[in-house]
């Protein structure tokens, strides 16, 4: 795919179920890309406005939970006159297969995109079997 086509607008999707959220406020589902290489699974999540200090990643019962909080203090002294999108925190969860090495997961944030690298366990990596 080349970058030559027109970039379309995708309406932000609100998170449907909000378990254990006691603070009022809407959450959004970050757009995600997932790709796999021989060594690892990579997750990319778009969370504009979330700095790396406000990302919370947890693994519990084979579920990887990602939450990104936006800092909306900058909006305190300004008032909207025209809006096309809303803002809010981000949350999304993914089920993990047992082929992922949980202790080796790494994460990084750049330009509002969270990158999670989930290395595969050794047993799950492709192996070449030599023929004698």
């Amino acid at each position: 795919m080349s970058g030559s086509q027109e970039l379309a607008v995708r309406e932000k999707q609100e998170l449907a179920q909000q378990e254990e959220k006691t603070v009022p406020g809407r959450y959004y589902v970050p757009a995600a890309d997932i790709f796999e290489t021989d060594e690892a699974l990579t997750l990319l999540l778009e969370m504009p406005g979330v700095s790396k200090d406000n990302v919370d990643i947890q693994i519990e019962n084979d579920v990887l939970r990602v939450e990104g909080k936006i800092d909306y203090s900058a909006y305190k002294e300004i008032e909207p006159v025209y809006t096309e999108y809303n803002i809010g925190h981000f949350a999304r969860a993914f089920e993990l297969s047992n082929k992922i090495d949980r202790d080796a997961i790494t994460a990084g944030v750049e330009d509002g995109v969270l990158t999670l690298t989930l290395p595969k366990v050794k047993e799950a990596m492709p192996r070449k079997i030599p023929v004698n």
Binding site: V9, P24, R26, F35, P48, V81, I87, G88
Partner: protein, 140 residues
């Protein structure tokens, strides 16, 4: 201005305030308006204005901002890359070119316009031109 007295006390209040100005007629559609990406929010801070857009995954070098008269133009390219040998399981992030122009209903002091892009959020500060600012007329 106490339009939303406690609006900014909580995120919910802010979200409701943002909803209330969805497609307000402050920014009239003009012939110069090309594409619709990125979606924009416009805020007022005192006499000045600010344009905010979410542009996750777009690096500063791929983003161009131009201002001419009352027209602000945002253009660039968003690229979503994968390693060559990767198999893609899920693809929700969109890529492509964008070119959007909007015409502001206010006059801007072009020399004082500043832009900042942090964590995928672009903010352009548009100071209102001195000659465009409202003046109080004293009744003699």
């Amino acid at each position: 201005m106490a339009l939303f007295p406690d609006a900014f006390g909580s995120l919910m209040g802010l979200q409701n305030a943002l909803d209330a100005f969805r497609r307000s007629d402050w920014l009239q559609t003009s012939p110069s308006a090309g594409g619709s990406y990125p979606p924009l929010n416009v805020f007022r801070k005192g006499e000045d204005f600010a344009l905010v857009a979410e542009v996750p995954g777009i690096s500063r070098s791929d983003l161009e901002i131009q201002i001419k008269g009352r027209t602000v133009r945002l253009s660039g390219t968003k690229l979503v890359k994968y390693p060559e040998k990767a198999s893609v399981h899920r693809r929700e992030r969109l890529q492509g070119r964008f070119d959007r122009s909007i015409t502001l209903p206010i006059e801007v002091d072009q020399d004082r316009v500043t832009a900042e892009c942090r964590d995928g959020v672009l903010a352009i500060t548009l100071p209102r031109a001195e000659r465009d600012k409202p003046r109080s007329i004293r009744i003699g």
